[in-house]
């Protein structure tokens, strides 16, 4: 098994992704779920950087730009997500995700 | 030469005032009044400044402002002022502040003044614009504030009258717009001067399919209809009596003094120069209609029991004289003989009549407004009696306006009417002879009004009627003074327009 640096980077990102995924799936606390999602997002960013770094045209910098935008969007996501958490907390006095199902069909 | 864009100032100062009134925070009522009056008086001030720099001997537009605006449509921002525009601007400058002053006591004055100033600016724009594009914008823009003025501040039937007014005139304008759209597609320009040039040498007609083509006729009729409604030409006048009657006094004054002139102005500035041949062909029929306005307007006024409606009908009558003269000139153009002199007289008379009617009709509306205000919104002929006994000053001023309106020599109304009759008699004697009956009918209904309202014993709503204080008479005094001055010395106005009119008549040489 001959793994290039790119392979390693990708493995690293998939590990991080799965950690985030498992966390998001297993924890009941909304904040932790959100943090898991953030981790997954970061894993995705790692992928982008890895392909930029080891890809054919690093000079163009598209990977960096993309990650930059992703970070901005992640910030927005975090802000809105946490605001939602606070709103949910105000409403039902806890932030257990499984209880926030008032909009079920 | 860099100088102030006086003409733009003329248009935009009232609009600035309107915007300021509408947008700035509410102040005291007195402050609103002072501000609105100042904004309205700006027109007079600028007009006087224009008068200083105006050279009557030059017949081309002066103070021209021309800037490219919409390149794709060959639209220019093009303002200019000649004698015709000047007297109408002067008229606006005189009547508008008076009308505003007459409305000081109306409720919600701030809004009233804002609408009113918008109307004033739009009317001025109509008189100054030399490009159809923004001319039409001004034309339509004058409608909206008028609508609100009538609807919000008007009498009990105001809503209906305002709707009728707006829909009727917008209907007319639609035809006008269609006509000009066709013109533009044919000529590629909206500029009045260029269009007149094309109309004069017949190339416009060729572009629209040659003389007598149905397309040309349709365009001509469209423009004619749009203007005829605005003046109004009989029988397109039925919107006018209710609108003028239901409008608040100030608005009535302005509508009759200035807005009705917009239509006549359109005839003179647009229809006649651009469609000389078509107008000539249609002139006999149009003269019949104008005569209808002269006669039936006057006799219609006789039947009215509502004073405002009566004055409104008298407006129909007076404006029909203007149109009659214009049509007679258009009809006879190209004939030989002493034609040119008669045409000059007719056109001079038209212009003077426009100004004079503006003064006297506005004054009459003001007087009726006073009657209405003092009697708790009664304005029937039979609601009053013997007003002259209790209010001699008011009666005197009303009397001057009334006699001016019926064309008493020595007052301004006579000069215009005499010249119109003189011209029309030279061009179409039968029309002048028939129209003279209108003078009689005017005298009858005005004197009847005078007799029933001002003479006789003090009855009806008259007891307790207070005479005008000097302050209340202020809006009326300048107009009254001008009526006398212009009646005795018409050269003041005639000197401004004579070269222009002479040039117009001179261009009507046989083809």
């Amino acid at each position: 098994m001959n793994l290039s640096p790119l392979h390693l980077c990708l493995l690293f990102s998939s590990a991080l992704f799965c950690v985030g995924l498992i966390g998001a799936l297993s924890r009941g606390n909304s904040i932790l779920v959100l943090l898991g999602v953030e981790l997954m997002l970061n894993a995705g960013n790692i992928n982008l950087i890895a392909f930029w770094r080891f890809g054919p045209a690093p000079a163009e910098g598209t990977g960096v730009l993309f990650v930059l935008f992703a970070i901005a969007i992640a910030a927005a996501e975090a802000a809105v997500g946490l605001a939602l958490v606070i709103a949910v907390h105000r409403h039902q006095r806890n932030i257990r995700l499984q209880e926030a199902n008032h909009l079920r069909g | 030469m860099s100088r102030l864009p006086l003409l733009s100032l003329l248009v935009f100062l009232p609009w600035f005032g309107a915007a300021a009134l509408a947008l700035l925070p509410r102040l005291s009522e007195a402050a609103h009044r002072r501000f609105a009056l100042a904004a309205s008086l700006s027109t007079l001030a600028v007009a006087l400044a224009l008068l200083r720099g105006f050279d009557p001997a030059r017949t081309a537009p002066q103070f021209v402002e021309k800037h490219a605006w919409i390149g794709a449509l060959n639209v220019n921002y093009h303002l200019g002022l000649d004698g015709l525009s000047l007297i109408l601007v002067l008229l606006t400058g005189l009547v508008a502040p008076a009308a505003l002053g007459a409305s000081f006591r109306s409720g919600e004055f701030r809004g009233f003044a804002a609408f009113f100033l918008t109307l004033q600016g739009a009317a001025l724009g109509v008189f100054l614009a030399l490009d159809f594009f923004h001319w039409f914008i001004f034309w339509e823009l004058s409608l909206i504030p008028a609508y609100f003025l009538i609807k919000i501040w008007g009498g009990p039937g105001a809503t209906r009258a305002a709707y009728q007014f707006v829909i009727y005139t917008i209907g007319g304008s639609a035809f006008l717009l269609l006509g000009f759209a066709s013109l533009f597609s044919a000529a590629g320009t909206f500029d009045f001067q260029q269009l007149a040039q094309l109309g004069a040498d017949g190339s416009l007609a060729r572009k629209l399919g040659g003389d007598g083509s149905w397309w040309l006729q349709a365009v001509f009729l469209g423009v004619l209809l749009g203007l005829a409604v605005k003046v109004p030409l009989w029988p397109f006048h039925t919107w006018l009596p209710p609108a003028y009657a239901e409008a608040p006094t100030g608005a009535s004054m302005f509508l009759t003094a200035v807005m009705s002139k917009m239509g006549v102005y359109g005839f003179l500035r647009i229809l006649w120069p651009i469609f000389p041949r078509e107008l000539q062909a249609a002139a006999p029929w149009l003269m019949v209609l104008a005569l209808g306005g002269v006669l039936l307007g006057a006799w219609g006024a006789m039947r009215q029991t509502d004073l405002k409606r009566m004055v409104a009908y008298s407006s129909v009558n007076h404006l029909s004289y203007c149109l009659l003269a214009l049509f007679a000139v258009a009809h006879a153009s190209g004939k030989s003989g002493a034609f040119s002199e008669a045409a000059t007289a007719a056109l001079s008379g038209t212009l003077l009549q426009m100004f004079n009617h503006g003064l006297s009709a506005a004054a009459l509306f003001f007087c009726v407004g006073v009657l209405e205000e003092r009697s708790g919104n009664r304005r029937g002929v039979d609601d009053f009696g013997g007003v002259r006994t209790v209010a001699p000053l008011f009666a005197a001023l009303t009397g001057v306006a009334m006699f001016s309106s019926l064309g008493l020599p020595g007052l301004n109304g006579f000069v215009g009417e005499f010249l119109i009759f003189r011209g029309v008699f030279g061009l179409a004697p039968w029309a002048a002879a028939i129209a003279a009956l209108g003078l009689l009918a005017t005298a009858i209904f005005l004197l009847t009004f005078w007799q029933r309202v001002f003479h006789g014993p003090v009855v009806g709503a008259t007891p307790g009627f207070k005479d005008l204080t000097l302050a209340e008479a202020v809006p009326l005094l300048p107009a009254t003074a001008l009526m006398v001055i212009l009646g005795v010395y018409p050269q003041l106005l005639a000197g401004l327009i004579n070269p222009l009119v002479t040039a117009w008549a001179g261009q009507l040489t046989p083809p």
């Binding site: 290039s4 995924l21 799936l25 009941g28 904040i31 959100l34 770094r53 730009l65 990650v67 802000a79 | -």
Partner: protein, 171 residues
């Protein structure tokens, strides 16, 4: 392959895993901050210097803060920051799902013949980044700016206490 990378990768994943498993929310959040700092370190290692600092600024400086605020604001009044651990009922499916995803990913990565560029990456300077942002990607930048603004306003609106008339307390 540098040792630095392995170290970074290990620390990042480890802190993340521990953070996900901890009962104490505050500690979780702080550890996650460390994990994000690890990601920043990875960027630094990969030569994306600007990105690294941006990552620190945004994640460590801002998102962590917000998370901590949220934790404190939504804390149940009695027990401080500790939440019940993952229940077996959820943990098992989570592990299965996560494991299967990991398996699929690892399988796919390992099985892929990825070629890497031979030449070392060119220095991608901040100036170039700026030119790219303001040039070809200006529209995206504006859109992201708008998104951030809207998100900020939305967050404020959502999180702000309602008017007195609103039903705020279910009790």
């Amino acid at each position: 392959m540098s040792l630095a990378f392995l170290l970074i990768a290990f620390l990042t994943v480890a802190t993340a895993a521990v953070a996900m498993a901890l009962r104490n929310l505050v500690r979780s959040a702080l550890l996650l901050g460390a994990s994000w700092a690890g990601v920043a370190a990875f960027y630094l290692w990969a030569g994306a210097e600007f990105l690294a600092f941006a990552q620190v600024l945004v994640y460590v400086g801002a998102i962590s803060m917000v998370v901590l605020f949220a934790v404190l604001l939504t804390r149940p009044s009695r027990d401080e920051g500790a939440v019940s651990p993952a229940s077996a009922g959820r943990l098992l499916p989570a592990l299965i799902a996560g494991g299967s995803v990991l398996g699929v990913l690892v399988g796919a990565i390992v099985g892929s013949p990825l070629r890497t560029a031979a030449k070392p990456p060119l220095a991608f300077t901040v100036r170039e980044l700026g030119l790219q942002l303001m040039g070809p990607h200006a529209a995206s930048l504006v859109v992201v700016g708008a998104l951030l603004t809207v998100a900020l306003l939305g967050a404020v609106v959502i999180a702000a206490p309602g008017r007195p008339g609103d039903r705020e307390d279910p009790r």
